[in-house]
Every structure is written in structure tokens, then in C-alpha cells.
Symmetry: C2
Subunit: 454 residues, 2 copies
């Protein structure tokens, strides 16, 4: 448990604008393509699926986009979140590095996901939409959108990846408590789900499959739109409030990060914590490193390839230019359910191609080891997803120790793990293992993609 | 989800003293008795069990007791906690009442229990104690003491009431993650436990039994002391930081509470939120009402009797002058495990005798109904214990509506329910029920007590 105090930002200094990194990228992200015409997607193509204002944000190249007052009011329930000096962890590692983390676990749903759930529900509401659909892996995004929809009077159907539905029953109950309907995906609710169940009767599901189901319902039901918790530009945009706050808070300490780390599933919290600092690399010549911490069992940035691919398993989404393992990739049943996704968003993928960010892979067992060390040192039990960022932060801190350098490390604690204690229990009792990916399978999956965009 | 902002106290205004209500009570609490001699307990009697400084606090009549700087540093990890205007709940109830809650769920362990766990571990540490033991019901206290002991390098054995051990497996894992050893009570670890298992082979355990076990170990193992999470004066003292902060925060709004509500198990959070306001009744002529919200299935304040009784089941503790259901009382298996205790502390019991506080009982089903309403309205899923306070607050707000009065209601949100989602799941699926107490059994239990102090 840390003994230095948290760094608090006064409420009136909470950012009033989100930051859109596209404005500062020399090489802009490549366009998504309409899968039928293979032509660059235009906003109209997306408006059947997403609220118009969100589509506008998706295509925007404006540097700063105003956060509506009603969204800021809701943000104030838990924002600004604390920046914490992890002095307990520093002591445990005996490192000269200064470690800071941004504590997004303090939101009522326990993770950063509310940062995008609130504006998504808001922009749907003001457009007169009545119903939303979404998918969720670990359940963090599903819980966040559930309470946001509840607040704005929208009803919500959540397709929850089957393995998480079973591994994390409490998450289901959280969504139910907030008034959402939850289905284990693949489900019998949709044509896609029924097909997938026939094709893969043993499947534990995946985010890609769940997205297909949620999209199908949104496209076929009146007054309904879909909400995505990661991958897309507008989601990354909403999440930048994390890094924008952290930047102001670090300023209060006089420190500036040498390295910024976020765990990586589709990119939402990674983009959120890094983009505002990456801006300073792009525009002010700073040289901070940025590391995406991904599971070794789902390593799109470290072992995937940059190709046009679908965002979902069934091919309902536009073609996305991204680092991918192929939309057929079935990730192992790791407990970090929020990281079990085959691809990265367009922005992150372009940044990776341009060597503006790095990626590191983390094995399941070392992620939990890091999580337990952090729990004892800082008093907060991290979500299995967040333990990946912690693990990489620890490695960086130990490297600093070897090198005798006083490095400043910042990572995002995307959420707490209090609803994921079953995973810790399994870790303690030796039931968890590492998973190897099948390089051949990935190669095959990706080779199939080459024709997609042509 | 509420749209008004939380009321934050600047960190430098966090109280530097705990408030000891004994100083202001006209009728002081009656003394605890040494069960062998039937003479008033003296500090030395307690020092085998508790750290000396805590015993000193237990007997103190000083009005304010300084919070050590090292404790305040740790408090600052999560304190000051927010005071929140529950405008979402007000709207849902369409009440003219203003409802505020103090959000103690933001601590890393999710409840107010850390407020006493930190100073208890601290005072043991500076006395050179190496090991601690304790009991826990729902697991909130056990988790809090686990991380506090971890921080100060003390090891900890936790005896967890069997029904909670089984109902709340995630809580066990939290304690393990923090490095504590956890036993289901009654356990095979202690003589008491083994006896109780013979006597009541079907027992689901109780706080009283678990206390007996923890006390036995503390008394028989060198360099070991026991820590209690409720009932005693020094615990109530530590918890007053809740109300002291709330008082300052309400001052910032210009409001003063007409009624203050806390759920009631042994009294820790109830005393914490109420005593600083009760002080103003005692010393400034304010007329605020104070309501202890207890489960209908464990109604010591509403249906118990004031007698000398043991704090535990096996009669290891001093005799305590308290409202009690008798130390043989076996509470029903309600999910609010933290409220399953047969007695109230000496201070609260005296205050109740003097009609300075009130009590109200809440049935299990109405407590969960209140919890779900609050979750939807405010975005935070409350602990099953806290739902009792919410339920009484809702009743008060609806009364205000009937009477057309703009009453100010304050309650303590003692903890969140994210680790107790199994209970909500059971509630949704209709598996929970209300429990009736057996008035005859209580009568018999209490009649047996009459001779105890003579």
C-alpha cells in the first residue's frame, strides 16, 4: 500500500475537450473500406450503425473536440480520477524509477469504459435513438454502457462472450442490476449466433463473434444503434480524457514520463493514456516511449500483420486497415477477456507502422504474478487486463534498476479486479496456465486476408 | 446515475483528530466487566488481547484524539471520501427531500473498514507485535485488516463466518491476494472451533463464534494480538472520520441533516457517520434524528434487551453492557453478513437507552429492492449491508414526500457490492427470502443472561 498521496486535479480543471490525434499524425490512418464496393467508407455508410455525431467524430480531423456539458456533468461523478505515485511498488522493486499510475478503477463500474459509454449513450439519446446493442468481453464495457443507457433511458442488449459469461457470472449480474439484457454469445438470439453455434459447437466465443451478433440486431431493429467499446477512432477520442488529466497531474509533480504503458485489447485505454503524451512527441519533439501491453496469447501488434480485415468474425463490419491475427483467430480462454480481440484500431495500427509506438507481449502467469505484487504493494487488486500493463511497467522499472536510471514510468490502471476474483483464485490454486499461439494458424488466417481489399 | 457533482473536501482539510463521543455523554456507558471477578474491566485486563494504545483509546474520555501522521498518510490513499448528492435517487422517488450519501465504497477494499484497520495495524506494529488475528462476517473487515497488516509487515489469520466463506468466495480470494490466511469458522484450527463443530455440526457459523476462535489464537500465541472491526469504543472512534468529513462537506453545501442513517451490525459505520452530528445535538441543541438500520432477522436494537452479555459465543470476552439478542442467538443466513451480530457496543447501547438514537428494522427483500433502485439511480451497486441504510433513507424520503417537507437526509454508503453480486443474482432469480425471528428463542436467550453479571 502506497504511502505517498494521490495527485488530485481540481474538478474545474477537468478537460473540456477530447484530443483527436489524427490532426497531428503526419501519415494519416488509411481509410476503412466498404466491403462491397472496396471504396473508402463515407460517413453515411456508418450511420445505420452508429449515432451521427459519433460518426462525425470517427471521421474528424479536428484537433480538439468539445465534451458536451451533460457528458462532463456525468464525468464528474468519478472524474478527475487520481494519479497515484506507486511508491509501494517502487519500494517492493527497489527501483530508482518513479512509477505513477492513473487510477481509472475508481469509476462506479470499476473501469475506464464509462469514459466512452457516457458520450455514446448521450449522442444516441439526443438523436432520438431508443435501443442500443453491444458486445462485451470481460464485461467491463457492457457494465459501463448498461448504466449509461439506464441513465439516458435507452434500453440495451449485451452480447457477452460465452467464456466470460461463464467465468465472470458477477459481471452479468452487474449488467442486470443496471437494467440491461445479457446474452451469452454466440447466442440463439441472432442468425449469426445460430450459425456460429452450428459451425463451432464447442466455441467459447470471441469479441469478434459477439460484435457480429450485436451489429446484426442493430441493423435489423428500428430506432436501434450499436455501441463499440474500443477499436474505433471515436472511442479512442473519448478515452483521451485519461491522458489529458494525467498530463496536468504530472505537471503538478514536475515529472514528465519517459515511458507510458497501457494494456491493449482493441486500444481504448492504451490510446486514452498515451495519445495526449504522444502529441508532445509529434509536436514538441519529446521522446517518450509508448508501450502497448498485449497478451502473448493474442499478440496482434507483436506477431500479427498489417492488412485490411473485418472487425468481427462474420464480416459485417467495414474493412479496417489494421494489425490483425485474422478475424478467424480464436483466442485462448485467458482471464483478461477484454484483451481477447484479433485486431487493433486504424490509428494505433498506423502509429505502429510508423514506429511511433511499441508493443510487448505478456504471458498469463506473469500477468497474475504482477497483479498480486501490485495488490500487496498498492492495496488495489487490478483487473486481469490491467495486470498486463503492470507487468510491463515492472519490467521497465527493473531495467531502470539494472541501468541505474531514474526513469519516470506512467501506466494506466484501467480497472480493478474485484469482480474477477475467481481468476485470482484459480491462479493461487495453480489452475491457470500460459498459452502458446499457433504461428501457422495465424499465418494461414492472415494469408486469407490479402484478397479482401482487392 | 446522479448528475449533480460530488462534494469534495480538500485533502488538507481531512480531520487530524478522531472524535470521542464519551466526552460529551451525560450518562456515560456502563463499564465492561471482568467475567471472573464481575468487577469493572481495567485497561490491563485488555492488554493481552489488544495493543496498548488501542486499549487506552477504549477507556479514554478525551474529546479529541490525534490521528498519527503515518495513519493520516495512509488515509489519504482514499480519503477524504466524496459526499454525494443523490439527485438520481431523489428524482426516482420524486421527493422534496434532499438526500446525501457519504461514499465510503471508494476505499481500495471497497468499504469503510479500512478506517479502523489502518490504525489498528499501526498501533500493533509500533508496539512490536508480529501477528494479528481477527474474525470477519461478509469479509469487508477481513479484507481491510489484511491489506493494513500487509502494509505494516504483520501476518494475519482471519476466521471467516462459514456461511460467508461459502457465499462470498471472492472475498476469501481478496484476503489471500493481500497475503492473509483465511479459515472458515467454526474451524478445526482452534479448540473453540472444534467444540462448536461438535455441538452444532450443521452450523453456518456466526460472528460470535468466529470472534471466539480469533481470540483463542491471540491469547495462546506469542507476539499476537486480536483486532476487532466493530462494537468496541476504539473502533467507533476511528470511524468518526466519516462523520467529521461529512460535517465539513455539508457545511460547503449550506445544508444540515435532519436525519442521519447508517446500517447497523456492531455499530462501526453507524457510529462513524452519526457521532460527529450527535455531538451537535448534545452540545449545541441541534435536533437531528439518528437511525440505526438493522436487519429484521437480527434485531438487537429493535427487539433485543439491554443486559450484560458476552461479545462472542463461547464467553471469552469481557461482559459488555449492551442491547443483545443473547450470545447464543444464531442469525439467519442473510447476505448482509456484516450485520449478523447479536449485540451492540456499549456507547450505542447507552445512547439507545437514553433515546438519543433510534433503530429501524429492514427485511432482506426490501433491502435488495432498495439496492437495485439505488444502483440504477446512482450507478453504484451497494453492499448488502449498505442497502439497509438506503432502504431506511428511501422510507424517510417518501415520508417527506407525503408530508410535503424538504427534509435533509444523510446516509452512509458503507461499501459497494461488487464482490457480492452472487447475492444480487439470487435476488433476481427469486431465491432470497425474508426471515422471521423466533421471539421465544430470543426471550430464552436473554433470560439466561440475567445472572451473568451477578
Amino acid at each position: 500500500m502506497k504511502t505517498t498521496k494521490k495527485i488530485l486535479l481540481p474538478e474545474n480543471e477537468m478537460p473540456k475537450y477530447w484530443y483527436n490525434i489524427v490532426a497531428d499524425m503526419k501519415n494519416k490512418p488509411m481509410p476503412m473500406l466498404n466491403p462491397k464496393t472496396k471504396q473508402p467508407l463515407v460517413p453515411e455508410d456508418m450511420e445505420a450503425l452508429f449515432a451521427k455525431e459519433l460518426v462525425k467524430q470517427e471521421f474528424s480531423t479536428e484537433r480538439f473536440i468539445e465534451i458536451p456539458e451533460e457528458v462532463r456533468q456525468l464525468y464528474r461523478i468519478y472524474r478527475p480520477t487520481p494519479l497515484v505515485r506507486a511508491s509501494g511498488l517502487e519500494k517492493a522493486l527497489d527501483t530508482p524509477a518513479k512509477i505513477y499510475f492513473k487510477n481509472e478503477s475508481v469509476s462506479p463500474v470499476g473501469s475506464h469504459k464509462l469514459n466512452s459509454a457516457i458520450p455514446q449513450a448521450y449522442f444516441n439519446k439526443i438523436q432520438g435513438i431508443k435501443h442500443m446493442t453491444t458486445e462485451t468481453g470481460a464485461g467491463q464495457w457492457g457494465s459501463a454502457l448498461s448504466i449509461a443507457c439506464q441513465h439516458f433511458g435507452l434500453d440495451l442488449k449485451v452480447f457477452m462472450v460465452r467464456v466470460s459469461y461463464e467465468q465472470k457470472p458477477y459481471r452479468r449480474s452487474v449488467m442486470k442490476t443496471y437494467g440491461a439484457q445479457v446474452f451469452a454469445s454466440p447466442s440463439a438470439e441472432t442468425e449469426t449466433g445460430r450459425k456460429l453455434r452450428q459451425l463451432y459447437p464447442e466455441t467459447s466465443g470471441s469479441l469478434g463473434m459477439a460484435i457480429s451478433e450485436a451489429v446484426e440486431v442493430a441493423l435489423n431493429q428500428p430506432d436501434t444503434r450499436y455501441g463499440l467499446g474500443s477499436v474505433l477512432n471515436h472511442v479512442a477520442l473519448h478515452q483521451t480524457i485519461i491522458g489529458l488529466e494525467a498530463e496536468k497531474q504530472l505537471e503538478m509533480t514536475g515529472d514528465y514520463p519517459d515511458v507510458v504503458i497501457g494494456c491493449f485489447g482493441g486500444g481504448s485505454n492504451f490510446c486514452g493514456i498515451t495519445f495526449p503524451f504522444l502529441k508532445n512527441n509529434l509536436t514538441e519533439g519529446k521522446t517518450t516511449r509508448f508501450i502497448a501491453a498485449e497478451p502473448a496469447s493474442c499478440p496482434k501488434l507483436t506477431r500479427g500483420r498489417f492488412e485490411y480485415d473485418f472487425g468481427d468474425t462474420s464480416g459485417y463490419t467495414p474493412l479496417i486497415p489494421m494489425f490483425t491475427l485474422g478475424h478467424d483467430f480464436e483466442p485462448a480462454d485467458i482471464h483478461a477477456g477484454g484483451l481477447r480481440y484479433h485486431g487493433a484500431g486504424t490509428i494505433v495500427s498506423q502509429l505502429k507502422r510508423d514506429n511511433l509506438i511499441e508493443a510487448a507481449d505478456v504471458k498469463q502467469l506473469e500477468s497474475f504474478e504482477a497483479g498480486v505484487l501490485f495488490s500487496k504493494a498498492e492495496g488495489i487488486i487490478p483487473a486481469p487486463e490491467s495486470t498486463h500493463a503492470i507487468c510491463v511497467a515492472i519490467k521497465e522499472a527493473l531495467k531502470a534498476k539494472e541501468e541505474g536510471k531514474e526513469k519516470v514510468i506512467l501506466f494506466n490502471l484501467s480497472g480493478h479486479g474485484l469482480i474477477d476474483m475467481a481468476a485470482y483464485e484459480k491462479y493461487f490454486s495453480g489452475q491457470l496456465k500460459n498459452f502458446e499461439v499457433d504461428e501457422k494458424e495465424i499465418e494461414n488466417n492472415i494469408n486469407k486476408l490479402e484478397k479482401l481489399a482487392k
